[in-house]
Each structure stands twice: as structure tokens, then as C-alpha cells.
């Protein structure tokens, strides 16, 4: 069998016992597509708390060729919300459904842990990623203006897993409010546009 055949791939769950080896490979894989790397704390933040929601694709030489990093927690006292934070597949391995498989594993794991919904953001120029998630049933819920450092905008993609999620009330989140114009010097006296949807996650 040819070494590039998908059959040669192995999908595994992240294992904290192999942190040094896995995290290094993961960072390398993910940083490749980023102008600026995430700090080690970002990886630790996810893996320390939700290592079981992180899945890896390894080739037959046990080299990491794909990774998905996610988390799952109650969103502002409301629904149990899954978040797919990072997804990367090595360039020469793209187009074989590895990313879809990884995302499916993450979603299945979240469903098993009683997730109500799953959200993520993707750059609007990243049509491949959007297609992937939309095939899985995600919808674009909003567009985020100049969301990334390079000035590109993003779509928030959302997948509801249960009925009634849209009606679950959430608490107002201070960290979710936008920072702009917090001062209101125009003298109108009252804050404008209470928008509580400006959350990062």
C-alpha cells in the first residue's frame, strides 16, 4: 500500500502522558498556518481542561498530520457549549477527509458529554473550512468584522444539537461587551447599543 493512502492513518485521542511529544508536534502543525503563533498557555489552557476533546491524526510513521483542539463548558450559565478552537491538517494530506474525521470525533465526544451546541469561527476566505462545517450541519450565525490580526473578517458557525437550545437564557457577560466607545462623551448620558454578542468564544 502506498504510504499516502488514507488507510495508513491512525486517529487517536490526546494523551496527557505524552504531552511533550504531542504538544510540540501540534504547535508545529498549527503554527504553520498562522502569522503569529499561539503561546504555550493557549495549548495548555485547552489540553489541561479538555484533553479528551482533542484528537490527532497520525500517519504510519506516527507523525502527526492533523489535529483538532476544542473545549466544552456552560456558556454564561446557559447552554452546554462546545467550541472548536483549532483545526489543522498538514498541507500534503489535505483533501482526504482527515479534517472532517477529526471534527466528527470531536463533535461525537462532545455529544457524549451532553453538548447542546457547538460553535467556532472561521476566516471568510477559508472556503474549505466553511464547506466542511456546513456539510456537517453548521450554519453561519453572524459575521465578525476584521476579526483576525490580518484584518480579515470571520463567520461564527453554530450547530445546534438539541431542540430548545435557542430558548435557553444566558447571563449578560461583562467580558463579552465590546470595548469601543465605552466612554460616552457625546453627552447623551446613556450607554448606547447594548450588544452582548461580542464574545470571543
Amino acid at each position: 500500500m502506498n504510504k499516502d493512502a488514507p488507510d495508513a492513518l491512525r486517529y487517536v485521542r490526546y494523551d496527557s502522558a505524552r504531552e511533550n511529544e504531542y504538544v510540540a508536534a501540534m504547535r508545529q502543525l498549527i503554527s504553520k498556518d498562522l502569522s503569529e503563533p499561539y503561546s504555550i498557555y493557549v495549548y495548555r489552557y485547552f489540553l489541561y481542561q479538555w484533553g479528551d476533546l482533542c484528537f490527532l491524526a497520525m500517519d504510519k510513521d506516527d507523525t502527526m498530520v492533523g489535529v483538532v483542539v476544542s473545549k466544552l463548558e456552560t456558556h454564561r450559565g446557559g447552554p452546554m457549549r462546545g467550541y472548536i478552537a483549532m483545526l489543522a491538517v498538514r498541507e500534503e494530506y489535505r483533501g482526504r477527509g482527515i479534517a472532517t474525521e477529526l471534527v466528527r470525533m470531536a463533535i461525537d465526544a462532545m455529544i457524549a458529554r451532553n453538548a447542546d451546541e457547538i460553535v467556532l469561527e472561521t476566516e471568510i476566505t477559508n472556503t474549505a473550512a466553511m464547506k466542511l462545517y456546513e456539510r456537517l450541519g453548521f450554519l453561519r450565525s453572524k459575521r465578525l468584522h476584521r476579526y483576525y490580526l490580518n484584518g480579515n473578517s470571520a463567520y461564527r458557525l453554530v450547530l445546534y444539537l438539541k431542540e430548545g437550545v435557542g430558548s435557553i437564557r444566558t447571563q449578560y457577560d461583562l467580558y463579552g461587551t465590546p470595548h469601543g466607545g465605552s466612554a460616552n462623551p457625546s453627552g447623551t448620558g446613556t450607554p448606547l447599543f447594548q450588544e452582548n454578542g461580542g464574545d470571543l468564544i
Binding site: 450565525s141 431542540e163 469601543g180 460616552n184 453627552g187 448620558g189
Partner: protein, 750 residues
């Protein structure tokens, strides 16, 4: 993908006094195994994303690699005292302009203007006097007027212009990072100095250049036009609010004329890339990783600047208040220009629209609110006329009405003004904000309903029989609030089309929903009209018994009926077009000509996707959310044959075309009947017309698509031989962002 963006980190918590924790730390550390990870419960993702790894060259801007010389790593050897050729000066000025515009577009100073070594020398250390701001403060200036007078005055005026832009934006409502980056890195944009210093310097520089007989004429003209532009731009920004008084945009007009000359001479410039350096980032007080210099092309920079000037000039056409609907139309139209006006323009507009609770510096917020209510629901009513100043007897109903109305104004004025100001946000934020304000207005409507009930006992209102119903009360204030909400619901959907939120398989349903909202709105306007007609009848009866009364109510009624008529025509146009597109998409979906984004293996069902799509409307009590089964039936036109659906599409598009024709003929603005002179034609009106004409083109495109389907359904071509393309928003084939018109054609035979 998670964004990597440190400024999204929340503000640090309040600092506490420092104390020595060595002992506590050692004790705690002794209890855990080596290599074990400890996470503070309060350590958030925001903090993780904002963290930097010191000694990592990609994250630590102060990192000096082994073997790297500290002086070399931090200092540039570019000599700001060196002589520059006129071509180099032009090149430097244009490069600085590109950086200035990149900053206007939302990039941080650290990656744009603050990469200029010349600017760095002028601004750091912070100069105490204008004289202090020299390229080299350590030695007396060399006798190089091209550098020390011409380039220096240009740079100083540029920085001062940035100071004006910075304070204008920071004073208004904007989104940090999304729209603009306000970070100054402990530098100061010469804010303490009066702009007259820099105008004087520019004048000296212009005088000098005019006398330079030996310089190549073209280069001399190029430098002069850049200096003149700087002076005019500085003046324009300095006096940007004066336009309310002066109605003059003369400085922006001169900027535009200089920009013509400037554009023609860009090619004369010689770039001096070594005068810009990333090393300056290492000195800027910031915790940001090193980030590359942002390069935008001269064309993009000049195009941005030209649009900024043009938008600023065109703004003067909306400064005269001609009633609420004209004002709202002008604001929305100007801000819907493509590309959207820059953040500076959007902030300037906010300042002009409302400051000190005054609209356009002329009309009180209360008056604006009352005008709008009068135009829609109460052309002549004691509610808007009662005044506590005139009636002081607390038992008098008029006194009580006035008191109730005062409370109403307090509660509703701000949200109402915000419905107008909302247009000043970036397009994504407009939609997101609407999703929230729709819920606020749902509550406001309920409050208004209570108020209506109290007021009608004070006015002794008599119920009016409405067609198809019992006698009922008018509920004027809540009717008006409901109207606001219905506009917002419609805009949420329309902005959704503009921002490409909906997937192909959602299009039939979303156009059905749009028509559903329009139909509801039309029904609401009918209800309002019934009460206005009844009020008019009462009014006529009252005046016929008192022939000496003025004709003022008559013209108010006339204006209100006309306004209702215009709103109705516009809504019919939108409604009919949505019905046509809905029917067309139903046919495409039935015949598998729409490729859906979701696969059969999707995790979500159509029902779940419907719930997600309707999330903003779930908390809204009126109009009630359409239950999924009913929605599905309507959206798919279940039970209707293809021919019935086709006929529906044909009829609707014909009606849409007529209604858009009438809308165009009605014009953007309502003429004031009391004014002798008609409203002057303006660029904003042209924009509005172009928008309607684009919509009409989209109608024609829809007609063509319907015709193609009709032929296919009738044979000889078959539906299976057709293919469908959905043009992207912003593309030429799209005609109008709000109308997703499919291109239906026969498949090319291979």
C-alpha cells in the same frame, strides 16, 4: 480558528499592593510533583491568548538573538540628517500617506506610521515645544530646507491630522480593533499644540518651494500639491464639526482637487524603504509580538482618502432637517455606500447626528421623536401638544397627559435615536446590534401599550370599528413602537443577505420570512391608516362646526397619509420581490438545482437549523415566531403544483417591478408642502436612486430566471438540463446585495 489577539484581553484587575510571596510559593510548590500543571481558576482563555513567551523571537519583540549586537538590534543606522532629493521627498510623503490611510483602515500605528524613522525622531522623546520636534534634536538643524522645512512640516501636519482623527473616533461609538486601533504606545500625536503652528510651517514650506526655481518643475509641483493637501486636510479635520454652522466643506473640496494632482505625480516619487523600520516596534511600550509593516498600495490609499473627502463633502446635504423620514433616509443612504464610509466619517456623522441631545445641532431629540410619531400615527393629537408649562392644574387631564408623555420621551428618545445611529456601525455590527434591539423594542412596545391604555382614559378615546373586527382602540404609541420593531426585523433579514449569512438551501425560507414580515407590516400600516382616517373624520366634523379654525391639522393629516402611502408602496415592492424569489427558489429546490451546503450526514436536522436561524426572533413576542411545521409548509409551498408556484413567481415579479417603479417615482425624500422651493438634488439622492435602480435590475434578472424555468417546465428543454449559479454579494452579477437572484441557464453541452 481561535483569533490570536492580545487586545481582546480584558482590562487588568485592580492592582493590589505588592507583597513578598516567596515563602508561600515555596511551600505550595513543594506539594506538587515536578511537571504537574497548575491552573488558576481565574486564568481565562483571554489571558492565555494574550500571553507572550519571553525569549521566543516570534512573540517577544524585545528578544535579541545570540550573537546579535544590542545596539544593532535596536537602533537603525538611517541618517535623518542626510540630504534628500526632491524625488525622495515625494516618495517619502507618499509612503507616509499610505501608512496614514492604513491606520485609518484599522491597522495599528506600530505597523504603519510608527515604522517611520522620521516620525519616531519627531515624536520621541515627547517634544515639549514645536521647536523641539526636530529630526535630530542633538545637533542644530542642517541647512537642508527640503528636509528640515518641507519634509518636517509635512510630517508634523500629518501627525496633527492623526491627532484630530484619533480624538474624533475615540469620542464616538466604534469597536476597538474591528474598526480602529486607538493604541498610541505612550506616544503623543502633538495633541497639545495648536494646529496653527503647523499651518504656518506648511505655509513657509510652500513659500520656499515656490521660490525654488532650479528644481524640476514637475517635482516642484508634486511637492507643492502635497504640502497644500496637508494644509487643507489639517484645516478640514480641525473644523469638521463647524459644517453644522457654516454648511461649508471648502477644505475637503480643496483636498480633493489636490488629490488629483497628487495621484498624477505618484510615479515621480522615489521610495526610501530604509527610512522605515520594524525595529521601532521594540521600543514602543507594548506587549504585542513583533508584527510586520502593513503595506497598502498608493492606489488603495488614494482611493480611501478620496472617498473620505467625498463622503465628508456629501454629508453637508443631510444637515438640513426636513422631517424624520427624510433625515433617516439620508443617514442610511450615505452610510450604505459601498465600500462603507471610513470609521472617521462614521464617527463624524455620529457627532453631527446627535450631540447634547440635539439632532443636527438644530432639533431637540424630543421634537425628532414627536415628529416621527406625528408622521406615522398622530398627525394631530393632544398627546403631542399637551404641555405642563401651560396647564398647571394637576387634576386637568392635559396636565396628566403631559406628565405621561414626558415619561415616554425619557424612556423612548434614546432608543429611537439609536435606531438612526446604528447605521454608523460597521455592517456586521449593524446586523448584530439589530438582533439585540429587536428584543429591546419588543419590551418597549409593551411599555408603550400600558401607556396607551392609561392615556386613552385621559383623552376619552372612543374605539373605532376596524375592518374584520370589533371596535378597538388606536394604541398610537405602541403602534409606532411596533412599526420600529418591524423595520428592524426586516433589516436583520436583509443584512443577512448582504453579509452572506444564509446557505443556498435557506434562501427559499428566508425570502418567505422576509415577505411574511412585510405582509405583517403592511397589515399594521392598514390598521394605523384606519385610525388616522377616523381621526381625520372627527377632525373635519369638529372644524366644520368651527369654520375659523386653522388648516394646520389638515396639512398634518395630508403629510401623514402621504407618508403612509410611501411606506406602503415601498413595503409592497419588497414584499412582492420576496414572494417572487421565494417561489423561484422553491422550484429550484424541488428540482434539485440548488446545491445545499449541508450533507445528509449532517449532525443537525432542518428543524434544528430553523431554530438556530430564528434565534434572534425567539424572545420577540410580536409578531409571533412561526412554528417550524407551519414554516416548512409555507417555505416549501407544500401542496402547490410547479405551475401554481411558477404563476405565483411571475405575478409577484410583475407586481414588484411596478411597485419599485412607483417607489423610484416617489423619490428618496418627501417634499415639504409648506416649503416653496423643492429640495435640491444631491449626491445622496443619487445614491438612493442607484440603489432602487439596482433593485429593479435584480427584478429583471429574476424575471429572466423565471422565464427560463417556465420554458423548461413546458419542455422542450428540461429542468435537468438547467444549471444555477448564485452570484456572490458584491459581485457585478449580484445587482443588489439584498436580492440574491439566481442565474439560471442551460448547461453547456460538452
Amino acid at each position: 480558528m481561535l483569533p490570536n489577539n492580545e487586545v481582546r484581553v480584558p482590562q487588568p484587575r485592580v492592582a493590589q499592593p505588592a507583597w513578598d510571596i516567596t515563602a508561600e510559593f515555596t511551600e505550595a510548590a513543594a506539594k506538587i510533583k515536578s511537571g504537574k500543571l497548575v491552573k488558576d481558576e481565574l486564568f481565562t482563555l483571554f489571558e492565555a491568548v494574550g500571553a507572550l513567551e519571553i525569549m521566543d523571537s516570534k512573540m517577544d519583540s524585545g528578544y535579541i538573538a545570540p550573537g546579535e549586537n544590542q545596539a544593532q538590534a535596536l537602533e537603525d543606522d538611517y541618517d535623518v540628517r542626510r540630504e534628500l532629493t526632491p524625488a525622495e521627498v515625494v516618495g517619502l510623503m507618499d509612503e507616509l500617506l499610505c501608512h496614514e490611510m492604513a491606520w485609518h483602515m484599522g491597522h495599528p500605528l506600530s505597523q504603519t506610521l510608527f515604522t517611520s524613522i522620521y516620525l519616531d525622531k519627531l515624536l520621541w522623546p515627547v517634544p515639549r515645544t514645536v521647536e523641539d520636534a526636530q529630526f535630530d534634536r542633538t545637533r542644530p538643524a542642517t541647512d537642508l530646507p527640503l528636509v528640515n522645512l518641507v519634509l518636517r512640516s509635512y510630517c508634523l501636519a500629518l501627525v496633527k491630522a492623526c491627532d484630530f482623527v484619533h480624538s474624533r473616533v475615540a469620542a464616538e461609538y466604534f469597536f476597538e480593533e474591528e474598526d480602529f486601533v486607538t493604541q498610541l504606545y505612550n506616544r503623543n500625536l502633538l495633541s497639545v499644540f495648536d494646529p496653527s503652528h503647523f499651518e504656518r510651517l506648511l505655509d513657509q514650506a510652500i513659500d520656499w518651494i515656490n521660490k525654488e526655481a532650479e528644481m524640476d518643475e514637475k517635482l516642484r509641483d508634486a511637492i507643492r500639491s502635497r504640502l497644500v493637501f496637508r494644509r487643507e486636510f489639517l484645516l478640514a479635520l480641525d473644523r469638521d464639526l463647524d459644517v453644522l454652522e457654516s454648511r461649508s466643506t471648502v477644505n475637503f473640496v480643496s483636498c480633493l482637487s489636490q488629490l488629483e494632482l497628487l495621484t498624477d505625480s505618484v510615479a515621480l516619487g522615489k521610495s526610501v524603504p530604509e527610512a522605515f523600520s520594524l525595529k521601532i516596534q521594540r521600543k514602543l511600550a507594548s506587549t504585542v509580538p513583533p508584527r510586520p509593516i502593513v503595506h497598502i498600495s498608493h492606489e488603495d490609499a488614494l482611493a480611501h482618502l478620496k472617498r473620505l473627502c467625498q463622503d465628508a463633502i456629501d454629508m453637508q446635504h443631510m444637515l438640513d432637517y426636513h422631517g424624520p423620514s427624510n433625515f433617516k433616509t439620508a443617514v442610511w443612504t450615505l452610510l450604505s455606500r459601498k465600500p462603507q464610509p471610513s470609521v472617521y466619517i462614521r464617527c463624524l456623522l455620529q457627532a453631527l447626528i446627535i450631540s447634547d441631545m440635539t439632532i443636527l445641532g438644530a432639533v431637540s431629540v424630543k421634537q425628532f421623536l414627536y415628529d416621527d410619531i406625528a408622521e406615522l400615527v398622530l398627525p394631530s393629537s393632544i398627546l403631542l401638544q399637551a404641555n405642563t408649562d401651560e396647564v398647571e392644574l394637576p387634576t386637568d387631564p392635559r396636565f396628566q397627559i403631559a406628565q405621561h408623555m414626558e415619561g415616554f420621551v425619557k424612556r423612548f428618545a434614546q432608543p429611537f435615536v439609536d435606531t438612526v445611529r446604528c447605521a454608523c456601525l460597521n455592517r456586521c455590527r449593524i446586523r448584530r446590534t439589530l438582533c439585540h434591539t429587536v428584543v429591546d423594542w419588543d419590551n418597549l412596545q409593551m411599555e408603550a401599550e400600558d401607556l396607551d391604555a392609561q392615556l386613552r382614559t385621559l383623552t376619552s378615546e372612543r374605539p373605532v370599528p376596524i375592518p374584520s373586527g370589533e371596535p378597538t382602540y388606536s394604541y398610537p404609541l405602541s403602534s409606532w413602537a411596533y412599526h420600529q420593531k418591524l423595520i428592524q426585523l426586516r433589516l436583520v433579514l436583509q443584512m443577512g443577505f448582504e453579509l452572506s449569512i444564509y446557505s443556498p438551501e435557506e434562501l427559499p425560507g428566508m425570502y418567505w420570512y422576509l415577505s411574511h414580515i412585510c405582509t405583517t407590516h403592511l397589515g399594521h400600516l392598514d390598521r394605523i391608516r384606519t385610525f388616522t382616517v377616523a381621526a381625520r373624520k372627527r377632525d373635519l366634523m369638529a372644524t366644520s362646526s368651527r369654520p375659523d379654525t386653522s388648516s394646520q391639522p389638515s396639512s398634518a393629516f395630508h403629510q401623514s397619509f402621504r407618508s403612509l402611502e410611501r411606506l406602503t408602496t415601498h413595503l409592497i415592492a419588497i414584499d412582492a420581490f420576496s414572494i417572487a424569489l421565494h417561489a423561484l427558489y422553491v422550484l429550484l429546490a424541488r428540482h434539485q438545482l440548488l446545491s445545499p451546503a449541508s450533507s445528509p450526514q449532517a449532525y443537525s436536522s432542518e428543524k434544528l437549523r430553523y431554530e438556530l436561524r430564528m434565534k434572534p426572533f425567539i424572545p420577540v413576542s410580536l409578531p409571533e415566531l412561526v412554528p417550524f411545521q407551519a414554516f416548512q409548509k409555507e417555505a416549501n409551498l407544500e401542496g402547490d403544483s410547479d405551475m401554481t408556484v411558477l404563476e405565483r413567481a411571475s405575478n409577484a415579479i410583475a407586481e414588484a417591478r411596478r411597485a419599485w417603479e412607483t417607489t423610484l417615482a416617489n423619490g428618496a425624500f418627501i417634499e415639504d408642502p409648506s416649503s416653496r422651493t423643492p429640495l435640491p438634488s444631491t449626491t445622496i439622492e443619487e445614491d438612493w436612486k442607484r440603489d432602487v435602480k439596482d433593485t429593479m435590475r435584480a427584478c429583471i434578472g429574476t424575471s429572466l430566471a423565471i422565464e427560463t424555468i417556465k420554458k423548461a417546465l413546458a419542455g422542450p428543454t428540461e429542468m435537468a438540463t438547467l444549471e444555477v449559479a448564485i452570484p456572490d454579494a458584491g459581485s457585478k452579477a449580484r445587482w443588489h446585495d439584498w436580492w440574491v437572484v439566481p442565474q439560471v441557464s442551460e448547461k453547456k453541452r460538452n
